[in-house]
Point group: C5
Chain length 375, copies 5
């Protein structure tokens, strides 16, 4: 059974050092671009940087459970015959030929497969007659910020998942199948599809909570008056993550909503309440993201107000010091002049009188500042 | 009969000192997270920090009223037989086993119970055939800012409420049941459910009015020109509360609206006008929250404008003082030079002429400032 | 016949001096709060600060007109028998017992009356079978900024209005009834209800136009560069009024729209075009309010830009003066030093050369400022 | 045939000099206010400042064309008998009596006429059984910024237009009728109504393009760094125009959309594609206005950033000059002191050493500024 | 076969030098204005600056392929007879007469042709009975920022495209037709229309990705603190492009959505899934544009915060230097005064004491700055 660590071990290899994770993800994203403009629909673009392909399969029924990882493509047909339901999980899209063999064997629609391979799609649900197609974005297990693409086909007796990269959030689902506890083995492939969809949606929550913690840290800094440039950069990073997540989750809302409305034949009526539950979670996610977006903009306001306040403080201090000493410096300059006829210079009380005058000027100034509440 | 004070006595124990209440509530919220990603639906997560569970029950009919607090689970069945309607009120979710016994006895849907236990859900209404399920957020009686979760099941002859924490806003409802005045005892469980829903919604108004008072205080400070950092922090606190409240109330709108549209069988037609009234209150709450949001952003603008204005004042003052004295200081510096050949120094009118010159410069400067309306 | 002056004479008594009208209205508003959380629906809260109750009645038919102000409650029944249509106008909600007698006599719904008495409701339209209930907010005749609550019941042969405070905008409607000109007397109670609704909506226009004038005054100040703090406070006041008005008018849109769609039996088909006209006016009001909101935010931008510009001007002036004289002051300081060996001091051309040098420095500075377009 | 120049000749008479056009239009607008609050519906308010009324008429059929300008009201009936279709064009609303005669002769609805006379209405379409009523706002030919009101009735064989002020954009429509080219004469009054509606909508485009040119001018100034106060005022003017235009065009969208949906009997099915074309133009106008709104807000950001940048520049310059010379001035001050025991003053290398010291300080400062990238 | 280079060679001729591309495009856009206000519908305006017209044609069927570029208008009829499907591609709208001949031969609707010629329309889909009309905006191959207009008619056996300027993104579609690979030749004209629509939509992606790269460059600059004016100008340029693109793509959403809903007869049911795919791409484009818009506004905030921060730094530095030296300069000024009776001047420890005093003042100042965390 694959673990998330495998993906983590593989992932960091091709990452440039010293680039913040938010930006790295964008750079990688752009690599797998669309097929050339005007290309035939269903064209599967060979992407040499895609992860190598690998198939894992689980066959199960009320009383049986077979897990093979990896499994050869040829062995799938036998597994389908043996078990009531099979879950084929394909990871990595480098071997385009392999993907095309699935098209034939399971009668998939080429456009769906093109959507899967051209990562960066919006989540959607489509009914292709023989099977239902769900295109989802899920949190990449090897990173806290990136999402990877997941294609899911559900038909009579099978669930097919196509993951962009190794590492996923389906560990517990596999365990529930293996343990045979609960109702999962007794129910059809639609229930398994629901369980996977649920895991994808729930996988967003830890990431959202990490953002919550980051925002809380920022808030603490800002409220304590420690508003450095680092705070703004951190805030910008959070806003980017929020944008990214919203882009991933928003279309899910539409997709799960259409499942709940029962516009599809591939999910039985007794799975519907579970789908409604998933839909509620998606809406809750969006609520949280919206909340954090407003919170982050409130924090930015707070930060700017802090910065403004400090500028004010600095300027007030400068003004007080300067406006007290500038007139005094003028006075001492006057009595530093070398005119021959300056009677004040020649009386014995000239110097003390001058000092008193200056003290008086300073006192008036201070009184004035206090009256204006600058002190 | 339980009082709100009980909750207040228990609540503050686990609160860190010196943290503003808005942030404390977030921290606590995060504790009860989702069940592990991929877990079986309906999994009731045991949360050791949850409040201990306690059952209270009220049985009533047109001519009878029985209140037991606490009551053992086993005694509930007898009470149901004796009275036309029962209201079972469960507080605290620590005893997961107890909750599961309710699933069996009242035929509740496991997903609903999972939603209740995983606090931080959105308000919603769902029809599970045998009973209607309402998930609500209500103001935590032991705090002015936090909301707690309330699950409410209404079926034939029973109302079940599951509260996250002790202390609630149902005191008057209990009193109305005990007094037997009004129509409450004569009507069915749907009317009781309405009365509880109404109390939950009305419970938001005092909190909203407290925000109104806080905003008024801020406005007074800002209009009086006392725009310190404290004002901005207070404003930020209000905005957080508004966000929190909106997140709690917004989904209520949808939920009550579906009740008003009569999409459920569990509320009889003559309760519908009352539900419409509740719905109107929810919409009014949202109006107020929206209003305060706009008001708070207008106050922020006002504050920033104040700060800007004061910076302007300070700078103008500095500029006036500096630009008057800097040239004068230059002049006195000139006549402080030690050149041998400086004829001005040796005539008797040199000093008075110099003073006159400087007075003239100052006068011209002042005239210039006045013309530019800086004075 | 009551006049608006009566309200004006009574109103100011309880107003604290020196508080701007916008804030005063909020303070008063909060006084009549909701009934206690969890209270029985239809509870009429006795509010000792409410205006004393007073009943006025007008009975009319194609050929008759009877106006009694005040009228005793007991005389109403006789009037109803005598005239085809009656309009009972109740002002002030202090006498809760009186209101409850209306519930009995006219078969009103208690929830509707609770809504009326708990001022600060949203406008709405509800069909209670025997009668239609309209809850409206209308401009308080004794003030230019506040709105008061108006409840209106229309049934077969009667219109009941419940006004929060004395003084209203129905003078012309009463006059039209008294004069018997136009079609008003010939038509039923639904037409009278329309006429009152129309008067309420049209009553907002003068207030909105006053805001328009205030905004124009602000714009004039800002465009003329007179952007003082007073301008910002005035702008804030306008924004508060806009918020208040929008809160009052927005729900009216929904309410009148439901009347236009003909979802009620109490307005006959030939009154519908008139209701459509009222609805159009409501939408126009909202358009204007939205317009003014955007205008006020554009004015705030303009003001901030003005303030910024002036700060820039001040700083530029300071910089020019300071950077010209600071180097010069340094130069004169150099020749004010008391070193024994300073040959420049002892030549006859030392002083003029020094003056020339300084003139040169100043000229270079000025040229530099001009090149940078600071002058 | 009337020309736009006639309106232009008349228009400027009552304009106060020196007021920018945007504000002038608001002032004029307010003059024609609503009828008194509570007045009878359909009351035609006599406005002494309204333009004098004047009727022009065109009768046409496939083979005939009669144009009379001006025409007496009495001659209209004869013209209607003679021609298949007539277009009566009334300009100026001063003669209320005349308008009321149209009510009788053409069976118009009084509410529609009230809407026409009370200028400042929203555009709308209403079906009054016998005729369709369109209320539109069109660009005032005598000004580039203002809109005037146009009421249009279309019934069997007639089109009535009521224009607030002389001067319109129907010149080409008249010419097409007179020339007899195209299909206009062969088709019914609905086609003429479409042609007029099309002219009204197309009349907005030149105004919008003028705004585009103004925005382009502003952009050029801002990008070139010439961000004076004039730019902000100009930007504010553009935003006001955009608000005004959007307020005029937005309701048109709804109105034309209802025409396209075919909710009216007065436009035949073969005119529908043309109406769809008009609707597309309205939507395109709104797109442009929205675009310009966003552009203007982006320009404001750019301007503010410019202003900020320049303030920064000025402050940096001041700081550099001041912080270099302030320490130097201190040093020369030290050696200007008159202490008897100051050994540095009496050695021959004192003066050059002091100059070197000061050069060193200045060099360090400059190096520091360069390292911080302030230079 | 035409290439994009041809367009590129022609394009730059009429471009003024030194104008950024974003603004150039607007200038050009305005040239082709609407026909005169009130003109007959379907009027084809002769635009002397339009590109010269040129026809290219491709005829194809399952087993045939004929490409003629250019082709005379007279040869089209023969080609239609010979091949099952023809694709006529007209570039440049200068020859209005030629366009009108298409109206006759293919029975096009004049309004559609007017829309095509009056560039700057919104994308739309209209069903004119005999044929479907699609009005699209596509990226101009000769520029990275501009869009040109594309009109597309699809009917039984023919596809007509009208391009505003030479150069397009249909190269691969032509190649697929020529190669005969895939299903394109075997399917009808609706499939070709889909392929062209798909190419138009996919043509936006490279442009959007270029914007992504520009934003990434800006982000890098801003995060590195290199926030010059150039950054703001670049950001403004990106925002303009985003506005332009959104204006082009947004209406496409509606248009493709109506195709997907199957409101047209001209696309067969088996082409529908492909149209749904195109629609998904359009929605994805809009998602990206919205994302970039928010990102660019976040970057602007970041930039402004940077600028603010730097101003703060500069001011703090000035304040520290000035407030340390201004009092010291005052002190040295005092002992530069020429009073006869100044005892401090005549003691031997006067000078060192004065220096010590000044060192003390400076130390206190520095301690104060450090306590306030300004250092």
């Amino acid at each position: 059974m694959r673990s998330g660590d495998e993906g983590a071990a593989e992932g960091p290899v091709d990452r440039p050092a010293g680039v913040p994770p938010e930006r790295r993800s964008r750079r990688r994203r752009r690599r797998h671009a669309h097929p050339p403009v005007g290309a035939s629909p269903g064209t599967l673009q060979v992407d040499p940087e895609a992860h190598p392909s690998r198939i894992a399969a689980i066959g199960y029924g009320p009383d049986e459970f077979v897990a093979k990882d990896p499994i050869a493509f040829e062995a799938i047909a036998a597994l389908r015959k043996r078990c009531a339901n099979v879950w084929i999980d394909v990871t990595g899209f480098r071997d385009v030929g392999l993907l095309e063999r699935f098209v034939e064997q399971f009668g998939l629609h080429r456009l769906a497969l093109e959507d899967i391979v051209n990562v960066q799609q919006r989540a959607k649900v489509e009914d292709y007659g023989e099977h239902e197609f769900l295109l989802l974005r899920m949190i990449d297990a090897s990173s806290a910020h990136e999402t990877e693409q997941l294609g899911l086909f559900v038909g009579a007796g099978f669930v097919l998942t196509f993951q962009e990269r190794p590492g996923d959030c389906f560990g517990l689902v596999r365990k529930r199948l293996a343990d045979g506890a609960g109702q999962m083995r007794r129910r059809g492939s639609d229930y398994l599809a629901y369980a996977l969809l649920d895991a994808v949606v729930d996988g967003f929550f830890p990431v959202v909570e990490a953002l919550d913690r980051r925002l809380e840290g920022i808030e603490e800094s800002v409220l304590a008056g420690r508003s450095s440039t680092a705070v703004v950069h951190e805030l910008h990073g959070v806003r980017r993550c929020l944008l990214e997540l919203r882009r991933a989750v928003w279309p899910l809302r539409e997709a799960t909503s259409s499942l709940v409305r029962g516009e599809t034949r591939h999910f039985s009526a007794d799975v519907r309440p579970y789908l409604r539950d998933v839909h509620d979670h998606v809406v809750q996610l969006l609520d949280l993201l919206e909340n954090y977006r407003e919170l982050s903009s409130s924090l930015l306001d707070l930060h700017l107000s802090n910065v403004n306040y400090r500028l004010n403080e600095v300027m007030k201090f400068l003004t007080i010091i300067a406006t007290i000493f500038i007139p005094l410096t003028f006075v001492v300059g006057v009595y530093g002049m070398n005119f021959e006829w300056m009677p004040e210079l020649h009386v014995w009380w000239g110097y003390p009188a001058c000092l008193l005058l200056m003290a008086g000027i300073a006192a008036v100034m201070l009184w004035w500042f206090r009256r204006r509440r600058w002190l």
